[in-house]
């Protein structure tokens, strides 16, 4: 198994790709400076009818779900003891680490009174019945846990071998927390919607079932994003594909996907909300786009032949990513209405920040895999 031990990729850090990513990150930083000087209104289209825009719905809610690769791989490898997936753990964990850390940082851009953010965790201020309290606490703890899980990768290079040994001894605890915490906050990110009541369109206001639906799709997104990243890494860094491993994993995805759709459509039918999917409306339109993204992979992933085709598998993963994205954007923005006369579409600077944060994530990922032992070493490049 020696050839599978992780090793730095090496290579030049300044490439056309990293330069573009860097420029996008700087553009976002410029907008953020304007936001902190002139306020949220200067760079966003937020209003009292849409107090939350893409900085919450995408950067935090979708962003953290797309960062569930590390969580899903930890369940697979350490809880279900499928050691064969081990080579996927580190790269997935790295993407999760950046995804979550930046989701956490993005929250600060969006908070109006960010200097009070510590109140969230301060006895006397903390309001434990608030769903947001739970989300904030679990996401913050999970970011710490992930840095611990990932620390063996860089502690050696920094010369802290003693600390690395101690952390490695407690790794089982970090792994357990690394499964518990995302389970809690990915469910609660959906739970945020419960108190919005009838302000959420019936196609997404599933009440007590929202947390379950968000949790199931977060795990699905975790699988999908691992396939997505593994494929891009193979193509982008000219490495061998891990299709056999990914195809085997797609079997789990298929089962979970069917279970999710049973919950989702079962709830819609039992509540009678499915009726509104057949009335022409913007909500119904986006509902069906979202549903198609989940329904097509049910067919794609059903046959081992299709699962073993790298292109088909990648397409199925992309559809699932889009479906999970749409479920969250639909529930938080498309399906949200607090009264007549309000509308929202992100402002250009608002989009620049979201794009810049994504660019920075990818940039940091590239720098890390080139300089730190993340990806499994391969004897020959193709």
């Amino acid at each position: 198994m020696a050839e599978h031990a992780p090793a730095p990729l090496g290579g030049k850090l300044l490439t056309p790709v990293t330069a573009v990513l860097g420029a996008l990150s700087l553009a976002a930083a410029a907008v953020i400076v304007v936001r902190f000087i002139y306020g949220l209104g200067a760079v966003t289209n937020l209003s009292d009818g849409f107090p939350w825009g893409i900085w919450i719905a995408y950067d935090v809610v979708v962003g953290s779900a797309l960062a569930c690769g590390g969580y899903t791989m930890a369940i697979l490898v350490y809880i279900f003891n499928r050691g064969e997936y081990h080579p996927l753990v580190r790269p997935a964990l790295l993407a999760s680490l950046f995804g979550y850390t930046l989701a956490g940082v993005s929250v600060i851009f969006d908070l109006g009174r960010y200097w009070n953010v510590w109140h969230m965790f301060w006895p006397g201020y903390s309001q434990v019945h608030s769903v947001m309290f739970e989300v904030a606490l679990c996401i913050s703890l999970y970011i710490l846990v992930m840095w611990m899980e990932f620390s063996p990768t860089f502690l050696d290079q920094l010369g802290f071998s003693g600390l690395k040994k101690k952390i490695s001894k407690l790794m089982f605890l970090f792994v357990a927390l690394g499964v518990l915490l995302p389970s809690m906050h990915q469910a609660s990110l959906g739970g945020l919607l419960v108190i919005f009541g009838a302000q959420i369109h019936p196609l997404w206001q599933a009440g007590m079932l929202i947390p379950l639906e968000f949790l199931m799709t977060a795990v699905l997104l975790g699988f999908a994003v691992v396939i997505f990243e593994a494929t891009l890494v193979a193509v982008g860094f000219n490495r061998a594909m891990e299709t056999a491993l990914l195809a085997k994993m797609a079997g789990f995805m298929h089962g979970l996907l069917i279970a999710y759709l049973v919950v989702r459509f079962g709830d819609l039918i039992l509540r009678g909300a499915i009726v509104s999917a057949f009335k022409p409306s913007l909500e119904a339109f986006w509902f069906w786009i979202e549903s198609i993204c989940f329904l097509v992979p049910v067919w794609t992933l059903s046959s081992p032949a299709r699962r073993n085709n790298a292109g088909t598998l990648f397409a199925a993963a992309l559809l699932l990513l889009l479906g999970g994205f749409l479920l969250r954007i639909n529930a938080f923005l498309v399906g949200y209405e607090t009264g007549e006369g309000w509308s929202y579409f992100p402002a250009f600077p608002e989009l620049i920040v979201t794009i810049g944060v994504i660019a920075f994530e990818i940039l940091a990922y590239i720098v890390f895999v080139k300089t730190l032992p993340v990806l499994p070493a391969q004897s020959a490049t193709h």
Partner: protein
């Protein structure tokens, strides 16, 4: 016991424990000393003295219509980060008659409802939104607030408003002029209302007054109190109005401390039909079920730690590091 069975049985035990312990959070009931306002749409003449007095007493800035050529006086169209109350107009067809649904018009006040079981208080992660345990007034503390706007999104009436245009923004909402109590004052909107359309008092007494008005025969002679119930007598003679058969705020989300009478159905006036169970109760029941006493998380963590300890060790012996 192998680990998979251990996993399953711990989960089952956790589920059983938590459902046993989880207390369903019921919708709260109105406090006996609750303070509020009665707004009678049929008495309102749309003079907006309440809007002006509210601005003055709460030190709020004026706001102007976009691209107006006359930025000389306050022109709010809705409540906002700069405006805590407005009077809106319902118009239909020829607008012949006041308080008539067809071809008529009517006024309606918009401001904080001071809910019996407020969504904003339940949503706020840092206790910046508080409901007074005695008088039930829902107040806001900007020194606690982190500006997340979960209260803005959660409120079914769209009441808490945010100052997006400020470098150091905050939420603004009606707090029933509680800052005027220490000088013997009360809600400025009710104090200046020339017709008693907005009336201040204990909610029990306001509801009794509403019941009295609803029992009158439309057109019959009566008197209407002004200002504050239980204060100096400022009542004046008037004629009983024809109401739709509903006291808005009696049952919605367990009730509100602002109650309304009107001659036009409330949906037409922009007030939603809300169930008697509050969204706060549903949300907190969910939280209690999942996290009550931390039972489920702890049991789940125990099971995960047990499994992870075996598997991570196996893994390291196999030559890998986690």
């Amino acid at each position: 016991m192998d680990r998979r069975n251990f996993f399953k049985s711990s989960l089952a035990a956790g589920a059983a424990l938590s459902t046993g312990r989880a207390r369903a959070r019921e919708t709260r009931s109105i406090l006996p000393e609750a303070l509020g306002l009665l707004y009678d749409s049929t008495l309102c003449i749309g003079c907006k003295a309440c809007v002006a007095a509210c601005k003055r007493e709460n030190d709020m800035p004026p706001e102007f219509l976009p691209r107006t050529e006359q930025p000389y006086w306050d022109q709010p169209l809705d409540i906002s980060g700069k405006t805590l109350t407005v009077i809106k107009v319902y118009r239909h067809g020829t607008m012949d008659k006041k308080d008539q649904e067809e071809n008529g018009y009517a006024f309606i006040k918009k401001s904080c409802m001071h809910c019996v079981d407020p969504s904003c208080v339940s949503a706020c992660p840092v206790s910046a939104m508080q409901k007074d345990p005695v008088n039930g007034v829902v107040s806001y503390d900007k020194d606690a607030c982190i500006g997340c706007r979960y209260c803005v999104a959660a409120c079914p009436f769209g009441v808490p408003r945010f100052t997006y245009d400020q470098t150091f923004p905050q939420i603004n909402k009606c707090q029933l002029c509680k800052h005027r109590w220490k000088d013997g004052g009360y809600s400025a909107c009710a104090e200046v209302c020339p017709t008693g359309a907005t009336l201040y008092g204990k909610v029990t007494e306001l509801k009794a007054e509403a019941t009295r008005r609803r029992a009158l025969k439309p057109g019959a002679a009566t008197t209407y109190p002004r200002g504050k119930l239980g204060g100096p007598d400022q009542s004046y003679p008037g004629v009983a109005a024809k109401y739709v058969d509903r006291l808005y705020g009696e049952t919605e989300f367990g009730g509100t401390q602002m109650v309304f009478l009107a001659g036009v159905p409330f949906e037409k006036l922009g007030y939603p039909n809300l169930p008697p169970r509050s969204d706060a109760a549903t949300s907190e029941t969910m939280q209690n079920t999942l996290y009550g006493g931390l039972v489920m998380p702890i049991v789940f963590l125990g099971a995960l730690t047990y499994i992870a300890k075996r598997n991570v060790k196996d893994d390291e012996q196999g030559g890998h590091h986690g």
